[in-house]
């Protein structure tokens, strides 16, 4: 019908979005990447400014990878960095964790997909995404060209799908890490997700670790809604996970008192935001106590630099910011700044000194 519309010719911009949110950057070129770093990377200098001994050393290690600082985005809350680049330089933060990518395009769940809850939200997106091909062609190169570190989250319906995704990602240059989103329905198990069965989760981790390039750390992302979190974490670590990400959203529900129906289509959704932070902290603390050598990316309701600090003290080596990005699109850089200030105030020289400090006996908490 559009073609037969007489007026269709005189639109200034017909059809598609008029406003690509940011200028297109030619994909993949190493030179472009350098250029982008030089022009836009100033923030990175700011983050380490005055490193004359006064500023804390913000670097953190996740497996074999070192990040400039421990603040990342959480999967599914920042796309692949492109929209947020309107608000800050994505190269300034430790890494961008992408929305979980699957092999094929996926339309996700029907609307309504979300409801606001006290200090949190319920969501049920259903892993909508364009699939790995578009991701590799369009999203990943864009992020790399901007100088961002890419942690790619993957989701599948079977261990084989996960393995295939890891293989494809390993062939593309520039992937810093892979995060396995295990909260995806296992098609062989009537849709129960992989975190509900430690053996299935371990199998996914094992095949991904085997398929991914060896210099790419593989992190397994866990949910707190499991019978035995430490058991699951141990199973993943033993299957070869280089680290753990936790937590995913918590199972929740809201009823719309006007329609008297569940507020999110399909009934339950995932609860996220500051409301769940105490649950996330408890998980990180418990798993770090059991597996002190396994690095953890902590997430769940990080809103301020002090919240990020809380996760590190509980045992995380880095933190990811999710829902709060919806509230404040510049949250990641604000949190990074607040976090750095918090370290300065406390005279903490190195991020590494903080990790798990809340576990140490009272006398030992004094930091250099």
């Amino acid at each position: 019908m559009a073609a037969t519309t007489p007026g269709a010719t005189w639109w200034k911009g017909a059809g598609g979005p008029l406003l690509p949110p940011v200028a297109e950057v030619p994909a993949g070129g190493g030179g472009t990447q350098e250029e982008a770093r030089r022009t836009d990377g100033s923030g990175r200098d700011e983050a380490t400014k005055g490193a004359s001994g006064m500023s804390p050393d913000l670097r953190t290690r996740l497996g074999d990878v070192e990040l400039a600082n421990p603040i990342m985005t959480a999967a599914g809350c920042a796309g692949a960095g492109r929209e947020l680049a309107q608000f800050f330089d994505v190269a300034r933060i430790g890494a961008v964790v992408t929305k979980s990518v699957m092999l094929e395009p996926r339309a996700g769940r029907p609307a309504p997909r979300m409801a606001e809850t006290p200090s949190g939200m319920l969501s049920a997106i259903g892993l909508q995404g364009p699939g790995i091909e578009v991701f590799l062609q369009r999203d990943l190169p864009w992020l790399l060209a901007r100088g961002g570190r890419a942690v790619v989250s993957i989701a599948g319906g079977s261990a084989e799908e996960y393995a295939e995704l890891a293989r494809r990602l390993s062939m593309a240059p520039g992937v810093t890490m892979i995060e396995i989103n295990l909260s995806s329905p296992n098609l062989a198990d009537r849709g129960r997700d992989f975190t509900e069965d430690p053996a299935a989760a371990a199998r996914v981790v094992r095949v991904v670790r085997a398929s991914a390039r060896s210099d790419i750390p593989v992190f397994a992302k866990l949910s707190s809604d499991v019978p035995d979190l430490v058991g699951l974490a141990t199973a993943c670590a033993e299957a070869g996970a280089d680290g753990l990400s936790m937590i995913n959203t918590v199972r929740g529900m809201a009823i719309d008192t006007a329609t008297m129906r569940p507020a999110v289509a399909g009934g339950t959704g995932g609860l996220s935001g500051p409301a769940i932070r105490p649950i996330a902290i408890a998980c990180v603390y418990r798993v770090h106590a059991a597996l002190p050598d396994v690095p953890i990316i902590g997430m769940g309701g990080v809103r301020t630099g002090s919240d990020a600090l809380e996760f590190l003290l509980a045992g995380a080596s880095a933190v990811a910011v999710g829902t709060v990005i919806f509230h404040d699109p510049s949250a990641c850089v604000r949190i990074l700044r607040e976090f750095e200030e918090a370290l300065e105030e406390r005279g903490v020289a190195r991020v590494g000194d903080l990790i798990g400090a809340a576990h140490r006996p009272l006398g030992a908490t004094a930091l250099r």
């Binding site: 019908m1 559009a2 037969t4 519309t5 007489p6 007026g7 269709a8 200034k12 017909a14 059809g15 598609g16 979005p17 406003l19 949110p21 940011v22 200028a23 599914g76 809350c77 796309g79 929209e83 947020l84 608000f87 929305k99 094929e104 395009p105 339309a107 769940r109 029907p110 609307a111 309504p112 997909r113 979300m114 606001e116 939200m121 969501s123 049920a124 997106i125 259903g126 892993l127 909508q128 995404g129 989701a155 909260s183 995806s184 329905p185 098609l187 849709g191 129960r192 997700d193 995913n248 959203t249 289509a265 399909g266 339950t268 995932g270 709060v324 919806f326 509230h327 404040d328 699109p329």
Partner: protein, 297 residues
């Protein structure tokens, strides 16, 4: 390009007014005012720094002015917690505001006849559009509807700016009793309209779009889907929209909209995943009938 990027600012409130059943807030926001194009919206944080309300509220920009370097006005009806909080703001309070967001109304190249159709507060973005169209020499006709007289917004402005202004109310308390879609055909015929712009609830947009098809004229609709982020990262605001390639995609109404070509929106399928949408269950080789994710994502 940087002109188009939305900005985030802490904007001082200049005035809070009552306009019939609505509240109008004007903030000082030069960055937003200078980038603004008709049809775009702002996303406002509500509840203060320790708010339990995490999600921003979206409001169409109703007016921008050059005063104080640039001001932005939006108007709203109190619906829930967030708008109740907003209604209590006073001048000099600060609002954390992001904008301008979204795809604006495309403008005709030539001075054609435009009819602007709005429902209730949904009419707000039509006013800056009307001014712009007039500046371009277009003829503007207004059709505004609401539940009752109090909720018809901007009648005086509409009369001033437009060639004709037709009003409808559900209860007949102002203008004609009935729906805007009942009077629209007459207006289109009388004004020899070349294009329709419409803002309001989905059922109204669907009917207006059907009507435009009957008259074979283009229609641009601005949808109001629930939004969590407004900036394109959360994927909560999707509706099924047909792309240039004929393929239906679950499309974000915050960045790819809120303005869409009416005939591209699959109104009847809003709230569902159409079976033929890109990536719908069964869409490709994958037999993934169990698409219920336990977790978000």
């Amino acid at each position: 390009m940087s002109d188009f990027r939305p900005v985030q600012m802490r904007s001082p409130v200049l005035t809070v007014r009552r306009v019939d059943a609505y509240h109008a807030i004007t903030v000082v926001a030069p960055g937003i005012a200078e980038r603004f194009r008709s049809g775009q919206f702002v996303a406002v944080a509500v509840g203060g720094e320790q708010s339990s309300m995490l999600l921003r509220r979206a409001f169409a920009i109703h007016e921008v002015k050059p005063d104080y370097g640039g001001t932005v006005e939006f108007l709203f009806a109190v619906r829930g917690r967030g708008t109740a909080w907003l209604a209590e703001r006073r001048s000099r309070d600060l609002l954390d505001i992001v904008g301008p967001l979204g795809r604006p109304f495309p403008l005709p190249r030539d001075p054609v006849n435009c009819v602007l159709v709005g429902g209730g507060a949904g009419a707000a973005p039509l006013f800056p559009l009307a001014h712009t169209l007039r500046r371009r020499g277009c003829r503007v006709d207004f059709v505004l509807g609401a539940a009752d007289a109090e909720r018809v917004f901007g009648a005086i402005t509409a009369r001033r700016v437009a060639e004709t202004a037709t009003f409808t109310t559900d209860d007949g308390s102002f203008g004609l009793r009935g729906q805007v879609t009942e009077v629209l055909p007459q207006v289109v015929e009388d004004a020899r309209s070349d294009v329709i712009y419409a803002c309001g609830p989905m059922p109204m947009l669907r009917e207006v779009t059907a009507l435009a098809a009957r008259y074979d004229i283009p229609v641009q609709v601005s949808v109001e889907e629930t939004m969590a982020c407004g900036t394109g990262v959360c994927m909560t605001c999707v509706i099924p929209v047909i792309g240039d390639d004929g393929i239906t995609r679950m499309t974000r109404s915050c960045v790819d909209g809120p303005v869409f070509r009416g005939e591209r929106v699959r109104f009847d399928d809003v709230g569902t995943i159409p079976f033929d949408a890109l990536g719908a269950p069964g869409w490709k080789t994958h037999g993934d009938d169990a698409v219920q994710t336990r977790e978000a994502g």
